[in-house]
Amino acid sequence: MRKAARIQEQESISSDGAIAVRVEQLTRVYGGEGQAVTALAGVDASFGRGTFTAVMGPSGSGKSTLLQTAAGLDRPTSGRVWIGATELSQLSETTLTKLRRTEIGFVFQAFNLIGALTVEENILLPLRLSNVRPDRRWLAEVIERVGLGQRLRHRPSALSGGQQQRVAIARALAMRPEVIFCDEPTGALDTQTAAEVLALLRAVVDEQGQTVIMVTHDPVAASYADRVMVLADGRIVRDMPQPGANRIAEELAFLGRPARAVR
C-alpha cells in the first residue's frame, strides 16, 4: 500500500507540467578509443503530455538509441533525461527499473511476451513485480480496449503477431505510465494488422491522454502520429507536425540521397 501511495505522489508531481519526457544535449558513443561510433550527437527535445510522436530516420541514424536512452534502458554518454519531473542520470539501476515499471511502458518489434505466461499473466507482470494490487476496473477497460477478452487464458504462442502486439500494448497501459515507448511496433506485421495496432495507439492518446513515442521507418505508421521527428547521423534534422504519409516519404527520400552521396 505504501508503494502505491508513492506512485500516486510521483504521478501528481509529474502531472504538474505539460512535458512528459525531455532530453537535453543527449549524446551516446559506442565502443572504445579508435573505433568509437557516435549514435547520438547532442539531441534536445521535449515531448508534451498526451502527444503521439513518430521518430524516424535511416538505419544507423540513432533513432533506437534515442528511444533506449530516453526510456532508461541505456545510459547516455552525456546529457540528461527527464521523465515527468524526475531526472534519470543520478538514479541507481534498481531505482531506474522501478521508475520504468511505473512511468514507462514498452512495446518492442517482436518477442514482447514471456512465453511461459498466459496473456493475462503477461499483462499483469509489471504490477506483480512491483507488488501493486491491480485496479480491476482499469484493467477491464484496458483489456476491453485491446479486444482480447476471449484470449486471456491463452499462451502467446497461440496468438497471431497482431494479437501479441496488442497484449504488449495492454501490458504497457496496465500501470498507467507517463509515456509509452514503441520500437518498430508494426515492423513484423502485415498492413492490415499494423493498421489495427496503430489505430489502438492513436486511440489511447486521444481517449486516455496517454503519451506515445514511437520509432518507425514506415511513413504510413508515422502518419498516425501528431508530430514527426527525423534523425540523421545522431542529430534531429526535421521536427514537424505530421504532414501526411506521402510528404513524410518524400522528406525521408530527400534525406537519404545526399547522405549517401556524401559518403
Binding site: 541505456d74 518492442f108 511461459a116 509489471p126 513485480l129 501490458r171
Partner: protein
C-alpha cells in the same frame, strides 16, 4: 517471487529437465557418499572382549609427530597389532582402588570354528562365565567357548589346532561370553604358546566397587605412557579390540576422500548446467528487465527457480541415493569389505546435508549466472539476446593459467622423481590438468575452433566453414562438454586402465618370480616345523617358508607396506625377485631386501641401513642387502623370518614354496604333508597366481566402481549440455536452410562440429590420461609402455561416438525433418 518462479518453471519444465537431471543424480551421489562416510564415522566398536574391564592398556597404532609445526600428526594403525609388556601388571596392582589386573595373551586356535586362545585370567575382563565344568588347571586343560564347543563336554578330550599344530586337549569347562569366540588355556600355557615372552596383546584393569575410575585411569595412563602404550576407557575400549583393516576405515576412505571428488564434480556440473540454462533464457530475462524487473528481482527469480529445482531433485535423488547405498552395502558385504551385520547409517544427518547442500549449490550457481545477466544494461541485453557475449572472466583466465603452470610443474616433477613420490605427483598432475582444462575451457574451445577451421573447411567444404564459425561462436556454451569429456577420458583412461596395469603386472611378476613348482598353502597358518618337514621329502631341492606381513615405512606420510618374511635358506631356488643390485643370499638376521619402488621412495641404497617399523610398531634399522624389481608381485620389503618372529600377530607362515628336482614324484609326500597340517593344501604353483589375481580383482572392482560412477556422471553432464545446446538451435538451423543450406549440408556441418569438439576433448583427455598412465606405470613397473586392453580403446572411442550420435546428431536430424518455415518464428 517464488510463485512467479514456480509458474515459469511449470510451464517450461521440458527445458528445465536437463538441470533437474544433473541435480537429481548429483544429490543421489552425494547422499550415497554421505551415508558411507557417516556409517564409518558414527561406527562405535562397542567393547566386547574387554567389556568388564574399566581400563584397557594396549598398543594399536603408532603416532608420528608432524613434520612441520601446525600440521596434524599422522596416525598409522599397526598392521599386526602391538603388544604391551606384562611387567606393567604388577605396577597396576599397586594403584589404589584396583581390584583385578589381567593380561590378555593371544594364541591362534581353530576349534569347531576359528577362535582366539587366551589365558584363563583374562576371562574376567569379558567376563566369561563357566556354564559347565571348571577352570583349566593343567597344561593340557582348556575351557571352550560355547559358540565353538561343538560336541565338547567337560571331561572329554578334544582335538584343537593350536598355533598351527594339532593336539588333543582335555576340556575342563564350557563358558559363555561376548566378543570373538575364545578358547582358554592356563595363563602359563597361553604365554608359552604365544611365543612372545613378557608381552601381551592387552592388559585390562577392573576397579574395586566404589573406586574412582577416572583417577585410576589417570594413574594407569601415566604408567602406560612410559611404555608407549595407549590407555582406553569407556566406549573407546572397543578400539583396543579393533582390526586394523577395519570396515569403518574403508567406508570413511570411500565416502570421505572419494566423496570429496564427487562433491567437486557435482558442483562443477550443476554450476555449468544452470549457467547454460540461464544463458539460453537471456531474451526472456532481458525482456523482464526492460519492462519491470529490477536486477535484484531477476536474481531472486533465478535463485528461486534453482532452489525449486534443487528441492525437486532432492525429492527424487535422496531416495535414489539411499537405494544406491543399500545396493553398495550388499555388494560390500558380498565381497567381504564389511561384515554382514555392520550398522550402516542410511538416511542420517548426512542425507539432510546432501539435500541442503545441493539446494544451496543450485542457488549459488543460479546467483552467479544471474549476476552475469543483470550486470549488463537492459538495452544491451535485448540487443545481445540472440548472440552469446564474448566476455569471460579475467580471474578465471588467471587461475586457469596458474593451475596449468602447476600441472606442468607437477608433470616435470613426476617425470624426474621415482617411487611413490612419482606416483603421487602423477595423480596430483592428473587433477591439476583436469582443473586447468575446466578453467580454461572457453579459451581452449575458441583456440581449437580457430586452429581447426582451415582443416574443417578443407574436409567438409562450406559445411566445414560453417562448423568452424559455429564452434567459435559457441565456445563458451560448450565449456561443460569439453570439461566433462576431458574429465571422463582423463580420469577413466588413467585410473581405470591403471587398475588393469597393476593387476597384470602383479600377476605376471608373481608368476615369473615363483620358481617353486609346488606350494603348501594354509589359511589357518603353518608352524615353523612344516618347512623342515618339507625339506626332508625326497626329491625336494628347496623349500622356503613365506609369511605375509606388513611394515610401516617412512615417507611423505608414513604408511604400511606389504612385506614378505622368508626363510632365506634355499630361497634362490624357489623365488626370483629379480635382484638389480646386491645379493638376496646375504639376507641374515640383521638385514633386509627392498623393491626398487620402495628404495627410490625412501632413499635406501644397498649397504646402508634402512630404518622402519615392524608390523607391531617395533622400530628396526636393518642393512639393505638387495634391491629387487618384482615388488608388486611379492611385496616391497623382504625380511628374514628371524627378524619378524615375535612381531607378527601369530607365529605362523602363510605358505611354503617347494622346488622339486626334475622328474621327482612328490605328489604322495605332499599330500601326506598337507594331511599333517590341518587346514593346509598342496597346490601346483600355477594355481596361486590365480588366487592372487582374484584378490586383486576385488580391490580393482571397488576402484573401478568408484571411477565408473564419476565418469558416468561426467558423461551425463556432457550429454545433458549437448542435448540442451542442440535443441536450442532450432531457429538457427531453420534460418540456415531458408538462406539455402541443404539438409545434407546442415547435417555435414553438425558432423564436422561434433568431430571438432569431441576430437579436441579426446585428444586433450587422452593426452592427460596417457601422461599419467605412463608416469605411474613406469614408476611401478619400470616399463614406460602401459597396457591398454583393446576393449578399453573400443569403449573410449565407442562411448564418445554414441554420445555424439545420441545427444546431437539424432536430435538435430529430427529438427531438420521439420519444414524450416515452422521454426523461424519460434522464440529461442
Amino acid at each position: 517471487m517464488i510463485r512467479l518462479a514456480a509458474q515459469l518453471l511449470r510451464r517450461r519444465i521440458g527445458s528445465a529437465l536437463a538441470t533437474l537431471l544433473a541435480l537429481t543424480v548429483g544429490v543421489a551421489l552425494l547422499t550415497a557418499m554421505g551415508a558411507l562416510l557417516e556409517s564409518g564415522v558414527r561406527y562405535q566398536p562397542g567393547p566386547g572382549q574387554y567389556a568388564a574391564a574399566d581400563v584397557v592398556v594396549a598398543l594399536r597404532d603408532i603416532e608420528f609427530p608432524p613434520e612441520e609445526p601446525g600440521q596434524s600428526e599422522t596416525t598409522v594403525a599397526l598392521p599386526e597389532g602391538g603388544t604391551v609388556p606384562t611387567g606393567l601388571i604388577d605396577k597396576f596392582r599397586q594403584i589404589p582402588g584396583v581390584a583385578t589386573v589381567a593380561a590378555d595373551t593371544q594364541v591362534a586356535v581353530v576349534a569347531a570354528g576359528p577362535a582366539t586362545g587366551h589365558g584363563w585370567s583374562s576371562a574376567a575382563l569379558t567376563p566369561y562365565r563357566i556354564i559347565k565344568g571348571d577352570a583349566p588347571t593343567g597344561p593340557d586343560d582348556v575351557v571352550v567357548d560355547a559358540r565353538v564347543a561343538g560336541d565338547a563336554e567337560p571331561g572329554r578330550r578334544t582335538s584343537l589346532l593350536v598355533a598351527g599344530t594339532m593336539r588333543e586337549y582335555r576340556v575342563t569347562g564350557v563358558a559363555e561370553g561376548i566378543g570373538p569366540p575364545s578358547v582358554f588355556f592356563t595363563d602359563a600355557r597361553a604365554a608359552e604358546l604365544s611365543a612372545k615372552p613378557g608381552r601381551a596383546a592387552a592388559i585390562g584393569v577392573i576397579a574395586a566397587p566404589g573406586a574412582d575410575v577416572a583417577a585410576l585411569a589417570a594413574a594407569v595412563g601415566k604408567l602406560a605412557d612410559a611404555e608407549g602404550a595407549t590407555t582406553y576407557t569407556g566406549n573407546d575400549r572397543g578400539r583396543a579390540e579393533r582390526d586394523p583393516a577395519s570396515a569403518e576405515d574403508m567406508l570413511m576412505a570411500v565416502g570421505g576422500s572419494f566423496g570429496g571428488y564427487v562433491m567437486m564434480l557435482v558442483g562443477f556440473v550443476v554450476a555449468g548446467t544452470i549457467g547454460l540454462s540461464v544463458r539460453h533464457r537471456r531474451r526472456d530475462l532481458a525482456l523482464l528487465r526492460a519492462i519491470a524487473a529490477t536486477p535484484g528481482q531477476v536474481r531472486r527469480l533465478i535463485v528461486a527457480e534453482a532452489a525449486l529445482l534443487g528441492l525437486c531433485g532432492s525429492a527424487v535423488g535422496v531416495p535414489a541415493g539411499l537405494l544406491a547405498t543399500v545396493w553398495a552395502r550388499d555388494q560390500f558385504v558380498e565381497r567381504g569389505f564389511i561384515p554382514a551385520g555392520f550398522p550402516m547409517v542410511i538416511g542420517g544427518l548426512s542425507t539432510l546435508i546432501a539435500a541442503a547442500g545441493i539446494v544451496l549449490l543450485a542457488m549459488l550457481s543460479g546467483l552467479v549466472a544471474a549476476r552475469r545477466i543483470t550486470r549488463i544494461r537492459p538495452a544491451e541485453a535485448l540487443g545481445e539476446a540472440a548472440v552469446e557475449p564474448a566476455r569471460s572472466g579475467k580471474t578465471r583466465f588467471v587461475f586457469g593459467v596458474l593451475t596449468l603452470g602447476g600441472a606442468c610443474t607437477a608433470a616435470v616433477f613426476a617425470g624426474g622423481t621415482s617411487g611413490s613420490t612419482a606416483v603421487n605427483s602423477a595423480v596430483g598432475m592428473l587433477y591439476l590438468f583436469v582443473t586447468a582444462v575446466a578453467l580454461l575451457a572457453p579459451w581452449i574451445n575458441r583456440m581449437s575452433a580457430w586452429l581447426l577451421s582451415p582443416a574443417l573447411r578443407l574436409l567438409w567444404g562450406s559445411s566445414g566453414y560453417l562448423a568452424g564459425k559455429n564452434l567459435k561462436a559457441s565456445a563458451r556454451g560448450m565449456t561443460t562438454v569439453l570439461t566433462s569429456l576431458v574429465l571422463s577420458v582423463g580420469f577413466g583412461g588413467s585410473v581405470w586402465f591403471l587398475q588393469d596395469n597393476v593387476l597384470r603386472q602383479t600377476v605376471s611378476q608373481n608368476r615369473e618370480g615363483t620358481l617353486a613348482d609346488q606350494t603348501l598353502v594354509s589359511p589357518t597358518g603353518l608352524p615353523a616345523g612344516a618347512v623342515a618337514e618339507a625339506r626332508r621329502i625326497p626329491g625336494v631341492r628347496a623349500a622356503t617358508s613365506v609369511r605375509r606381513t606388513s611394515v610401516i615405512v617412512p615417507g611423505d606420510s608414513p604408511a604400511s607396506a606389504a612385506a614378505l618374511a622368508i626363510d632365506p635358506e634355499g630361497a634362490a631356488d624357489t623365488l626370483d625377485l629379480r635382484v638389480i643390485s646386491g645379493r638376496l643370499a646375504d639376507l641374515d638376521a640383521d638385514s633386509v631386501a627392498v623393491s626398487r619402488l620402495q628404495a627410490d621412495s625412501s632413499g635406501w641404497k644397498v649397504g646402508e641401513r634402512a630404518e622402519f617399523w615392524l608390523g607391531d610398531g617395533t622400530p628396526v634399522a636393518l642393512r639393505v642387502v638387495a634391491v629387487y624389481e618384482r615388488g608388486l608381485g611379492f611385496g616391497d620389503v623382504t625380511l628374514p623370518r628371524k627378524v619378524v618372529v615375535g612381531h607378527t600377530r601369530w607365529e605362523l607362515d602363510n605358505q611354503i614354496l617347494i622346488r622339486t628336482e626334475p622328474g621327482a614324484k612328490v605328489d604322495k609326500a605332499m599330500a601326506d604333508l598337507a594331511a599333517r597340517y590341518p587346514g593346509s593344501t598342496a597346490v601346483a604353483t600355477a594355481g596361486l597366481s590365480e588366487q592372487l589375481a582374484s584378490d586383486l580383482a576385488l580391490s580393482a572392482w571397488l576402484n573401478k566402481l568408484l571411477i565408473g560412477v564419476m565418469v558416468g556422471y561426467a558423461a551425463l553432464a556432457a550429454a545433458n549440455t549437448m542435448v540442451m545446446a542442440a535443441l536450442a538451435r532450432r531457429r538457427e538451423l531453420s534460418l540456415l536452410r531458408l538462406v539455402g543450406v541443404t539438409t545434407r549440408q546442415a547435417k555435414r556441418m553438425i558432423h564436422a562440429e561434433q568431430i571438432g569438439l569431441l576430437g579436441v576433448s579426446l585428444v586433450i583427455g587422452g593426452g592427460i590420461a596417457a601422461g599419467t598412465l605412463v608416469t605411474v606405470v613406469d614408476a611401478l613397473t619400470g616399463s614406460p609402455v602401459p597396457y591398454v586392453p583393446v576393449l578399453g580403446w573400443v569403449s573410449v572411442l565407442g562411448g564418445t561416438t554414441v554420445l555424439a550420435l545420441g545427444t546431437t546428431v539424432l536430435p538435430v536430424g529430427r529438427l531438420l525433418r521439420i519444414p524450416p518455415i515452422h521454426n523461424i518464428g519460434v522464440k529461442e
